[in-house]
Symmetry: C2
Subunit: 233 residues, 2 copies
Amino acid sequence: MAVIYAVVVGPGDPELLTRKAERIIQKCSVICAPTGAAEAASYALSIVEHLLDRSRQEVITRVFPMLKQGPELEAAWEESAAEVIARIDSGEDVAFITIGDPCLYSTFLYIYRIIRKKRADITIEIIPGISSINASAAAAGIPLGIASDRIAIIPAAFEDYELRKTLKEFDTVVLMKVSRVFDRIYALLLELGLVDKGVFVRRVGSPQQEVIFDLSTLLGKELDYLSMLIVRR
Amino acid sequence: MAVIYAVVVGPGDPELLTRKAERIIQKCSVICAPTGAAEAASYALSIVEHLLDRSRQEVITRVFPMLKQGPELEAAWEESAAEVIARIDSGEDVAFITIGDPCLYSTFLYIYRIIRKKRADITIEIIPGISSINASAAAAGIPLGIASDRIAIIPAAFEDYELRKTLKEFDTVVLMKVSRVFDRIYALLLELGLVDKGVFVRRVGSPQQEVIFDLSTLLGKELDYLSMLIVRR
């Protein structure tokens, strides 16, 4: 029986693909790039373009509306899952490619859940890759954790109260999806005396990569969706 | 000038090396495998053995005493750092290979800090790789985080009080270095009604990989050093 793979293509640099990811992408006849933003789908595809042979591989790009939940999004996932199941039933291996880790805030997780529920007989294999968190820490040259450090990974959209607590209690805090709420986060860091402990990493692993230690330069700016803030005491 | 690279070789499977890691390992004339356990050094080397040419590459294995801190360990690091600096000064590129992420609880971080302090002129480049956390979640087929989930990564050796708090407040808790304190952690999970929410992953990515959902089978056993416990509500 055919298999569904979730393949992490890494944060941007095609050289950060693993051998296994390359092999799986080349063997699958269907490549899916599901995403919450059209830009991210084409970005994921650009990383693996050199591996694709569109004369024998079908590429399905599907953009999911950027809603937290609701019937419209649910319907889109159901439809996408059905599309994939049909391919599997006709004997085609399917690779979902994701720029982030499929286990970490990924669109794939929703489809995974639906397929698991509908068709427990289908094998879904996750091919791990380099997460943007590890790549960002590496690019910034900072540790995520040493010895007995505690690390928290949280979406930056949380309430100030929650963020403040986490920033106080953990040695390292990775703030995901920070672009839309950066100014608010900056004010919080200022209040906690942590402004000089943060590093903003944008488009890690891509030619547009930027590592910014002076957070004040980012205030009031339109920031990249593919970015994160790491705060390390 | 020669460069120091910290290269993540992934959790075990050589196919999970990135192209970049392969290229850097092959180009360096000195390969260092520093570790807290002799077993881990030979494990890291076994993952890259097929890439090495010992006729032109020098392999340095160094075991650091398993002490939290203290003058003996500090001296060992100082010596190791001096050894590396000497190689760099004679124009040789040096690759430190680590099975874990160099930014995550890695022995390399200590040497990195010493070299940074002594010789700011030396370029140290971190080549990110697949962390055992991402690989373990992939192997277990569980998400680390979805939507607005909060994730904590903490060493399992913490006090019960701290662990209890973290297990209550976070959606996913990754407990590192769990092997020596497993029975205590199990009792804590039992108390919090989380026993069936945990998954134990041992030697992820290696032929010895095991994913264990029934945690009770691990009680009273000698557990593998290279293992972790992921608790997901």
